[in-house]
Symmetry: C2
Subunit: 427 residues, 2 copies
């Protein structure tokens, strides 16, 4: 089948301000990507009929598929219907069934349909109406000469369902169902360049265009992509996944787009039957806050202490004042004492501690801004683990990296401590 | 002066994926808004020379000012220069001074300029070179018939300085310096519709188009805008600001785009000479984490306890086990006991506590998901304050709103407790 050339237009003056970004295009792009359809252009136009018409004419002339969002509502500046009619050289007609649905919706709220709202029953002559179960403005699908124009409402949750219901079948038909599928593999606290280097053999085997490495916030995502019929692409993804996991080894903390590092740590705690407590200074509760994002974490997370002052490090975590005086609050010794102290005082099997200098003030030549000590005590009676790092950037970035490093240390420690499963039990 | 019609084009195939959004346009739009210049359109095009050329031709024909970002680098898919030359019908020439600068930059890194990198010295005939102190790709300004085309690099931090240095003077000249200025006023924990209603008299006096109400994350921002010469617009903003503050009263927690609720609470603590400690259950450290975002907060924030389990509520916060058994952890009584307990145990003048059900599990008919109790103890010996709320939405939203409510209660309590300043001392 010939490739589909797609373009996206977002309509709305508010999308041209500094306050809003068009994000509907991302939802539509995700659907296009699923079917391997190339997006050639996207644009944003304000609520001016002539401008919308001109852009639609240009897009219609050069695309097989034009996806429009916004400008279908009842107010005077909702002009997408009129502009599309002019651009395509067709009229608008009122559809009785659509009007009836709008009337029913209003009747249910005890209201009558105003002339403004009646406008929403106007449809391009020859177009199919796409029902909007979540709002009043219906969508439209207009087809001519093998090309298609979709009009969607601008409200994201109205667009979502409608795009899935109407656009997906169109893409399936038009591409022969040769969908694209992506699998995500996640790595924490390793530089993007290092992950990139480690994957070089896989690039050579599978083609670099099917493997994307994306970095952000102490996390690297590797996106594996395959195209084709369901069984062929699943098989291809399985092979790529196995090779990627082999190359990245224990750097991989999880798989799937929704997986989080704190979620993995919570699962490891549950699997091992351990409880966790946190002792934080420079991160001010960020590690505890991240752990408690996980639903149901109360089974394994007992709580934490934010010991910002030295008095609290002694009073709540049993760090000897003499140690604080000798080594300073930002030191390996104090981090270790905080980790063991929080286990003892909060009665948890595992304790993690963070102490550092997030800045902008408080740095010194020996302990510059960005210095962070992390320690993990437990599970069991083994050695308390310690690491020190120096992170660059703003207070916010230093805190974020520190929390990420603590969670990654926890993950590795818990993985190593996990009782071996009965080997060969299945044989 | 005639109004300026501006358009923005972002070049780069990565901006057409689901992974990236063009955010450079927001930076450029902010500059346009400062000078009251209307943005008519923005578009994104991949790295295809013909497509970039076609879009530039359309934009140049209909705009006074075209702002392009991206596609100026050294690689084969950086094609903005060539496309712009074709669209404008001018040639490209190598500028000796620009090449020299690139060579110096490379020499400093001990490298020689490759033919690829030499490409970056190619400039539109007749264009002015815009220096790039933070990278190798220079920008360009091409003017003809009173119109202007700016080419900026796509790397945000390279674009930022260059746009300020080159675009601002152009806008000043072209608009006669009749800049637009915005002032932000912030309100917490009041619905957008209520703020909107309260401002109705000001809309009537000043015109609603100069007052924008924006809502998000438990915070409403009111943006006041004035246009004109410096003294006229400052005076206008002062009048609008005074009226807005009068209408919103003590709902206003701060002014200026950068002001945060936690920053205001930290300042009030410092002004009153008080210290704060937090006792959190459902928010898991979010209030402590927000307080410690404020640089220098260690002077007023001693720390906090994340007491996720009942044992910790008793062990670390002195909540009587009998009270927990009788009222349940999510109750007014326990919230009050946590607030006084954290003051006593952590030695702070003020204590704030949160206990609630963030979901998705754990709700009951009497205590549904979203129920949150907040209490504030101190400063001084007055009554412990308590509020209960039921927030809708996801676990994440419930936690966010709970933290916001706690900080807003703190703000009001501290403001009320502030010793009156020597009235009339200046007279």
């Amino acid at each position: 089948m010939p490739p589909v050339r797609a373009t996206i237009l977002a309509v709305g003056s508010e999308l041209l301000s500094t306050e809003r970004l068009d994000t509907n295009s991302l939802r539509l792009t995700a659907l296009l990507e699923r079917f391997g359809v190339e997006l050639a252009k996207k644009s944003v136009i304000g609520d001016l009929e002539g401008e919308i018409q001109r852009e639609l004419e240009a897009l219609w002339a050069t695309s097989d598929l034009v996806l429009v969002s916004g400008g279908l509502g009842p107010t005077g500046d909702d002009l997408t219907r009129e502009a599309a009619a002019a651009a395509l050289g067709v009229g608008l007609e009122e559809r009785a069934a659509t009007l009836e649905q709008i009337e029913r919706r209003f009747a249910a709220m005890g209201r009558r349909v105003s002339p403004n709202n009646r406008k929403q029953a106007q449809v391009l002559v020859g177009a199919e109406v796409l029902e909007n179960p979540k709002g009043t403005a219906p969508g439209q699908l207009f087809e001519r000469d093998g090309k298609a124009l979709f009009l969607f409402p601008g409200v994201p949750f109205e667009l979502d369902g409608m795009a899935a219901d109407a656009l997906v079948p169109w893409l399936e038909r038009r591409t022969g169902g040769a969908a694209r599928e992506t699998w995500t593999i996640k790595v924490a606290m390793r530089p993007e360049s290092e992950v990139d280097l480690a994957l070089a053999p896989a690039y050579a085997e599978f083609g670099q265009e099917w493997m994307t490495v994306l970095a952000g916030a102490g996390e690297v995502r590797v996106l594996l992509t395959a195209v084709g019929g369901e069984s062929a692409r699943r098989e291809r993804l399985a092979v790529m996944r196995a090779r990627t996991l082999e190359l990245l080894g224990d750097s991989v903390f999880g798989e799937g787009a929704e997986t989080t590092l704190e979620g993995v740590v919570a699962r490891l705690l549950a699997d091992g039957g351990w409880t966790l407590a946190t002792a934080e200074s420079c991160t001010g509760g960020l590690v505890a806050e991240r752990m408690t994002r996980v639903p149901g974490v109360s089974a394994v997370f007992v709580g934490g202490v934010v010991a910002y002052s030295n008095e609290l490090k002694s009073g709540l975590l049993d760090v000897a004042p003499e140690l604080l005086a000798r080594c300073g609050a930002v030191s390996e010794e104090v981090a270790r004492a905080m980790a063991t102290g929080v286990c003892r005082r909060l009665g948890s099997a595992v304790g993690v501690s963070l102490t550092g200098i997030a800045g902008p003030g408080g740095g010194s030549p020996e302990k510059p801004v960005g210095t962070v000590h992390v320690a993990v005590a437990g599970p069991g009676d083994g050695e308390v683990e310690h690491r020190v790092a120096r992170f660059p950037g703003s207070r916010e970035r230093i805190r974020m990296f520190a929390a990420q490093m603590a969670l990654e240390m926890l993950r590795r420690r818990l993985t190593a401590a996990m009782p071996a499963e009965g080997a060969g039990a299945a044989s």
